[in-house]
């Protein structure tokens, strides 16, 4: 044998190292395809709300099978456990989306196979929940308010879902308010003292021993607004906005008490009536806190605290609303209302000639004369004019006539050759002792009728220098005199108790007028409609001289409320103006 053969044989043999071989196969029955498994999670919800670190427990019932393990997935976390009852804590991430929490449970099939013994043959049950983090500072708690069917304010807080805690409360301006009712996850609080307006409620919720979150509820139900509307010329309806709350209302302490929102009462023509509405909470018998009141003044017609006059020829009103008195305004019905805050502003007491050419006003001993363009022309010293029942007039010839004690003073406001003229009468120097309508100028300025203490006289003042008595009667025969507003040759006079229309200065009877009332005071005649304004007792009577009918009757606010006028059916009082057109037909 050659050496090479020997080496070859050795190499051949050395390749025959021991190699293990064989495989023991055993027959094992395959397990069933599925097996019932029951999972109990501490939060038995499909969606889990996280408000912070949240401990979650699960318990898997394997019904006799051995539990191999579970794999928990959430966010980027993976937790494995070999315990069928296990707890873990989720530290949430502040994501805005719902994310999955998935737990895969692995339960042995129990087949005894290799895979089973190696725990890779399992019944797998996978369950997924949705989890989301809610920052309770911003979301997760719903608060709001509602009106309880019994009419009081009810605030509520819907606690976070799957809430970790239950302690909560509410306060208003530092005053704790008890929980009124709990319904499911909603906590109700009652505020029976709330009547409206702004209110801030502080609701808090403690979701663990360290954290309290709160919400503010701002309630601002509108407060009652009072509204007064005229009903005809003698009453008004006071109403106020209806609140969704069942509030208790009191008008002027006693005039109205109840839960309604309307009240009717009477009002006088020249009355500024004050209404005070006190609003009390639903539980008004026990709760006074929160009540409030609103008030208003109301008068009929249009508020008009200005002075005005009327030119029948021009069918135009002139009114004085300018506080500087440097100009006046013209107007036609409907007449304007007050300027804002006009109550304490200066206003000149206007009067104009029937032809509308001359306009003057009196204000603190000054006669303000205005041009036809309504600007101030000049001021004339007028001396003292009694401010109680003053008499003054402007006639068509441009003479401003007024009573100054026992004297009648005539100021020329036209640009003619005389300036002033005055004469004494037997008028009582104390105007409080004489009757109303003691003087009447014919509208042409030629005659002045004076009903004095002893006599009724008609003076001829046409030369503006002397006052010549052209007609006299005993004063007792006369009950009042008013110049005809459009005809300079006529006067209305109450002669021997009968209203008559007579000539001036001849005093010849033109006709008698039947007045349906007795013991009246003849105030004035509307130059536009000729309606006669009478006063008796506490009423104004508006009488049609042609038909002798009382067209309207209005109650006075006071017995001696003379400072009114009826011009073109506009009944002007120091407070307001009522358009009586529809009533004086």
């Amino acid at each position: 044998m050659k050496l090479s053969h020997l080496i070859f044989c050795l190499l051949l043999l050395s390749s025959c190292a021991f190699e293990p071989a064989g495989l023991n196969y055993v027959e094992v029955e395959k397990p069933a395809a599925s097996y019932p498994l029951d999972i109990h999670l501490s939060l038995n919800e499909d969606s889990i709300y996280l408000y912070g670190d949240t401990k979650i427990s699960f318990n898997l019932s394997t019904f006799g099978k051995s539990f191999n393990g579970a794999m928990i997935h959430y966010y980027d976390q993976k937790i494995s456990t070999d315990q069928s009852a296990y707890s873990f804590t989720i530290t949430p991430k502040q994501t805005s989306d719902w994310v999955d929490l998935t737990i895969d449970f692995y339960v042995s099939t129990g087949s005894g196979s290799i895979a089973d013994k190696l725990k890779v043959e399992n019944y797998i049950k996978s369950k997924t929940w949705k989890i989301k983090y809610f920052d309770l500072e911003k979301e997760g708690i719903t608060t709001n308010y509602l009106i309880h069917p019994d009419g009081f304010l009810q605030l509520y807080m819907v606690l976070p879902k799957q809430r970790p805690g239950n302690e909560c409360g509410m306060s208003k301006y530092g005053n704790d308010m008890p929980i009124a009712r709990v319904s499911g996850d909603t906590i109700f609080f009652n505020d029976k003292s709330y009547c409206g307006g702004e209110g801030t409620y502080y609701l808090w919720y403690r979701y663990d021993s360290k954290h309290v979150v709160s919400r503010n509820i701002n309630v601002n139900l509108p407060k009652a607004e009072i509204k007064v509307e005229a009903i005809g010329l003698d009453s008004c309806r006071v109403s106020w906005t209806k609140s969704p709350l069942k509030l208790y209302y009191v008008i002027n302490d006693t005039q109205y008490k109840g839960f309604g929102n309307e009240y009717r009462t009477t009002i006088l023509a020249a009355e500024s009536k004050y209404f005070s509405l006190n609003v009390f909470p639903p539980d008004y018998l026990n709760q006074r806190f929160g009540s409030y009141s609103v008030s208003t003044y109301f008068s009929l017609g249009t508020p008009a605290d200005y002075f005005m006059c009327y030119s029948v020829e021009k069918d135009r009103f002139f009114i004085s609303r300018d506080a500087t008195l440097s100009s006046i305004e013209k107007a036609t019905p409907p007449l304007p209302t007050n300027e804002p805050n006009s109550r304490y502003k200066s206003k000149v007491n206007l009067i104009c000639s029937p032809n509308g050419k001359y306009i003057a006003g009196y204000f603190y001993n000054q006669v303000y004369v205005y041009n036809e363009d309504l600007t101030l022309s000049k001021k004339i010293d007028g001396g003292s004019i009694p401010n109680y029942r003053p008499y003054y007039s402007v006639t068509n010839d441009g003479v401003f006539t007024y009573q100054q004690g026992v004297n009648i003073v005539m100021k020329n406001i036209a640009n003619t050759d005389w300036t002033s003229f005055s004469f004494a009468t037997d008028l009582d120097s104390n105007p409080n002792k004489v009757y109303f309508s003691i003087i009447a100028n014919s509208i042409d300025g030629k005659y002045i009728c004076v009903w004095g203490i002893n006599e009724f006289r008609i003076y001829d003042v046409s030369d503006h220098k002397t006052a010549k008595v052209v007609y006299t009667l005993p004063a007792i025969e006369i009950g009042g005199v008013v110049a005809h507003p459009t005809n300079p040759g006529l006067i209305y006079v109450r002669h021997k108790g009968v209203m008559e229309l007579r000539t001036c200065p001849g005093f010849e009877l033109v006709k008698t007028i039947d007045i349906p009332i007795t013991y009246y005071y003849f105030h004035s005649i509307d130059p536009y409609s000729n309606v006669m304004l009478m006063m008796k007792d506490q009423y104004y009577y508006f009488i049609d001289p042609n038909t002798s009918k009382v067209l309207l009757k209005l109650k006075l606010e006071s017995l001696y409320d003379y400072n009114v006028s009826l011009l073109r059916n506009q009944f002007k009082t120091p407070l307001n103006v009522l358009d009586l057109t529809n009533y004086l037909k």
Binding site: L13, C16, F18, Y25, V28, I114, L118
Partner: protein, 258 residues
């Protein structure tokens, strides 16, 4: 696989045993002084040049008691009712040697390869589990061989003798566990471990041999190898687990005089 440190360890152990055997041979030649005798041995080895090479195949039983325990531990650890298919059985071995004749004795080096192993396995519909041990041993020994000074009357062509070998034995154990799970996308898992150890051994052998021709000898031997096992090493010492190749050896080889 052997590395340099393993070879160095085998050589170191072999040289130690060579010195020991050389001194032992010196005791047998004590008729003259020790130093003079050694010089004469070296001179004869060089001058006479009776060199033999031998190649042999054999069959050995291997103790491997610790490995059997390790195999069982693997099965227990797996939790599977695996059954042994093979359990470190006796197996073939191979070797070569080179020797020099001196004064009716042969002195030489022997290089021998042994292998055995074990398998535990189980399989069912769901997959299979296989745990394999593959053990290989490489020994390098120095031997001295001497014929007995007698021959059998009936077979005068046969000679008998004894052979004593000592040296180092390197063991390499590859353990591989394979798990295959069906119906899984990545259902195959394989894990491998490799243990190593280097130990001294002593192997006394009785042999008989006969000449085939004037240059070739057929030799049959029976022996028993003794080793002193130590804990195997992975990257660290694995206490309690050794690889022991101790056991009976039967070898048949050809010896050729160069």
């Amino acid at each position: 696989m052997k590395n340099n440190s393993d070879i160095a360890a085998i050589l170191r152990i072999s040289i130690c045993f060579f010195i020991w055997l050389f001194l032992l041979s010196g005791v047998q030649a004590q008729r003259s002084s020790l130093s003079n005798e050694r010089l004469r041995v070296w001179e004869n080895m060089i001058l006479k040049n009776d060199v033999y090479v031998s190649a042999y195949v054999g069959y050995g039983s291997y103790s491997m008691s610790s490995m059997r325990k390790l195999q069982n531990d693997f099965i227990v650890a797996s939790g599977l009712p695996a059954v042994a298919n093979s359990n470190f059985p006796p197996y073939w071995l191979y070797g070569i040697s080179i020797s020099q004749k001196y004064d009716d004795s042969l002195f030489g080096f022997d290089f021998e390869s042994m292998s055995t192993g074990a398998r535990s396995s189980i399989a069912d519909y769901s997959g299979q589990f296989i745990s394999d041990f593959k053990c290989s041993g490489l020994k390098l020994g120095f031997f001295v061989e001497k014929d007995f000074p007698f021959r059998l009357e009936r077979i005068k062509g046969l000679r008998f003798g004894c052979h004593l070998e000592a040296g180092g034995l390197s063991s390499n154990v590859n353990q591989q566990t394979q798990i295959v799970i069906n119906d899984l996308d990545q259902g195959t898992s394989t894990r491998q471990l490799q243990f190593k150890s280097v130990v001294p051994f002593l192997e006394p052998t009785l042999f008989t041999k006969g000449e085939i021709n004037n240059k070739t000898i057929l030799q049959f031997s029976i022996g028993y190898m003794i080793d002193i096992p130590v804990d195997v090493q992975i990257s660290y010492s694995l206490p309690g687990y050794q690889v022991s190749w101790a056991g009976y050896r039967i070898k048949l080889g050809l010896v050729r005089q160069l």
